[in-house]
Symmetry: C2
Subunit: 189 residues, 2 copies
């Protein structure tokens, strides 16, 4: 297994670049200040579209290599036309994606080759909240469950520790399990 441990790319992660990036941020911590953005346009009813392209990071304005667009809507049972997932489903995708990306990086750094990582994220929500029918019911998810299947060339306990460390360093898990201040500004002309 020594070649597996020594080559730079593991799990599709360029570990040399990963460690170099961490060293660069150690030397210049302000490079790690990022601002991400989504630009949204209402289309009709509950149907709207976001564009994700520009962001700030490593001291400069930057753009993704492509412009990504995503549509959201409600299904017919929630008085929409099902042109896209609901906004709350995108949150579940974001959580799965964040934990999984972190897990692959951590595995690479620890010399573990992954063969499979799958997850299902489920969120329970009582729409009596957003419908304004029961003031005791919150608007958002009452609870979220993540079920991971992780396979790789390490003992089960080491694979479980990858998931634990990905939780300890997940941006989206932090956003969901802790509080983020949100400011809303409105222009009407």
């Amino acid at each position: 297994m020594s070649t597996a441990l020594n080559d730079s790319t593991r799990n599709g992660v360029d570990t040399a670049t990963l460690f170099a990036t961490i060293d660069a941020v150690k030397a210049a911590p302000e490079a790690a200040r990022f601002q991400f953005r989504a630009h949204n346009e209402w289309l009709s009813g509950t149907h709207n579209r976001s564009t994700i392209h520009d962001y700030f990071g490593v001291g400069d304005e930057r753009t993704h290599e492509r412009t990504f667009t995503f549509e959201a809507d409600h299904p017919a049972v929630l008085v929409g036309r099902d042109n896209g997932p609901t906004p709350v489903e995108y949150v579940l995708h974001a959580l799965a994606a964040c934990l999984t990306a972190g897990l692959a990086n951590i595995a690479a750094a620890r010399g573990i080759r992954l063969s499979e990582v799958r997850s299902t994220v489920s969120g329970d929500i009582d729409l009596n909240g957003i419908l304004g029918l029961d003031p005791a019911v919150r608007n958002g998810y009452q609870g979220i469950t993540v079920r991971f299947t992780v396979k790789g060339d390490a003992p089960a306990e080491d694979l479980r520790r990858l998931v634990e460390q990905s939780q300890a360093r997940s941006a989206v898990l932090d956003v969901i399990t802790n509080q983020v201040p949100v400011t809303v500004e409105v222009t009407t002309a």
Copy 2:
């Protein structure tokens, strides 16, 4: 304006169905219990893909009319290959989409015709958190700002109140600004 106030579809929202749905939930509150799900598969490095299709609601297992798939990745400056937005950018899209869908419903219920709703959601994040370089820095967004432009056939103050009410009834805003319990389970074989 009486025709505008009386016809059932306003802003693409079928208000008759919207009110009927609210009445149905009033009569049978358990119909409002939903479970949404995302199924994620790791591809390589920080690149992974979620599938959104099945959910539970109105007492039954249901599916969206289509299967939605979304890819997430990191850009090259974050040691990825930019095959999709970052997970944290999907959170910003979810917030914009949730506030916008709610706003359109609320405007329809209040008899206001919208002509334009746009928003930019910006999230500030210091990656010294997720890189484990500064224990005083959180993993997630330190703050999020939503900038709305709302135009329609109502005074500016009424348009601003639409945004306020959409904040008061947003599932994603609640998830971001308050705490949601998350449980993680791992299978390794």
